[in-house]
Symmetry: C2
Subunit: 256 residues, 2 copies
Amino acid sequence: MICIKIGIISIGNEIVKGRTINTNASDISNFLTNLGYEISYILACRDIKEDIGDSLEFLFHKCDIIITTGGLGPTVDDITVESIALNLKLELVLNEYAYSEILKKLTERGMEFTPERLKMAIMPVGAEILYNTIGTAPGMILKYNGKVIFSIPGVPSEMRAMLPEISRILGPSGMEYYSLEYDVKGLLESKIASYVKELIKKYNYEMLIKTHPESRETQNRKVTIEIYGYGKSRKRLEELAQQIKQEIDSIILNKL
Amino acid sequence: MICIKIGIISIGNEIVKGRTINTNASDISNFLTNLGYEISYILACRDIKEDIGDSLEFLFHKCDIIITTGGLGPTVDDITVESIALNLKLELVLNEYAYSEILKKLTERGMEFTPERLKMAIMPVGAEILYNTIGTAPGMILKYNGKVIFSIPGVPSEMRAMLPEISRILGPSGMEYYSLEYDVKGLLESKIASYVKELIKKYNYEMLIKTHPESRETQNRKVTIEIYGYGKSRKRLEELAQQIKQEIDSIILNKL
């Protein structure tokens, strides 16, 4: 049902070594999932050209849309755009739109145009820019072999500010996503596992049911039940979720 | 310098669609980094056999050690072990150690041995188990073609409880990791970018220097400076970090 596959690459040593929790990836993913898109993979790699290239290559085979975050700034480890160009064998040129955007911001803020800041305007041939309404580094849109790569900053506020523009460019997904979640105390997920399996089949895989156990499995037991799916009609998804919830409730009440 | 490369795969729709922030990956990564190991990649994929297999394959080419989290439980979407076996073309058999561990726990807790719970004892030929001191699902250690795959649960408390055992099996990394971080208010990272680049070169790439800008780039400016690296001697790393910090401080004081 879902055609457009999206992959995310979070670039930065700080993520891969566990210094920084990757909230950027979940923010992007959550935003796009709620618009009816489906995310296939999230990758995080270090600030190493080859690793960025390999991550891109992996997702190029798997996804239609790739979103990278991080590595767009002025510092020596900001090498995202360069690594993408290298991997796709595209020439790097001064992007005039990026240049004039950066120049405008630096002038407004009384800042110098240093070589490090100029770097932020160097992009592969054919790239377009995504305006950064908060920081200086522009984002990038690159169409290549029927795929689209969006490169956005790693600073969370700057990243989040670009998401509406990405969804505008992607256009409507044509799908709705709906999720219903609720907690059941005193339940072990293994107790309802076989019923859940049957229910998913009974509803023809239109909705998926996940059980998320929390804390210690046997003490203060609590399971969050999640009923979710994609479909053309939100109303139908809501109705299905309610029906499935009622079935689960009656299983818990009558069979356990 | 660092020889052993580690990759992490977090398995679960909830992560890839942004419902759950991937703290498991950063917990594992942080734990191992502080023991002197280096993590190369973090991947997150959905509960889809092919996607799990493809993620594994990608990391198999890049890493020596692969750690998967999630998908070990009794529910229909818990397919990690099965997917690994499928990808590596290994036969699945009843693992007697896993079986007796699960049986012991179920008996202690007065619980039934359902087919869903039996599933947790099915592992590839040659797999060993990692004891789960909290929940029922055992973890798995699988050696294959000179690589080692650790599969641990996705429930954070169960996952964390297995990390010391993983590090015991890995043995000492032979390296130390050290990181020094501090905040500088009123600084723009682009202002010191060229100096940072020179400093990294001057210290022969023994330590890396990262600047993490926070909040809006131009309002309430704050940059976290991170000086970090791997080496044989922790004392040397600490001294180097202090020297570099002093150089950065004097640059900020004298040149900006």
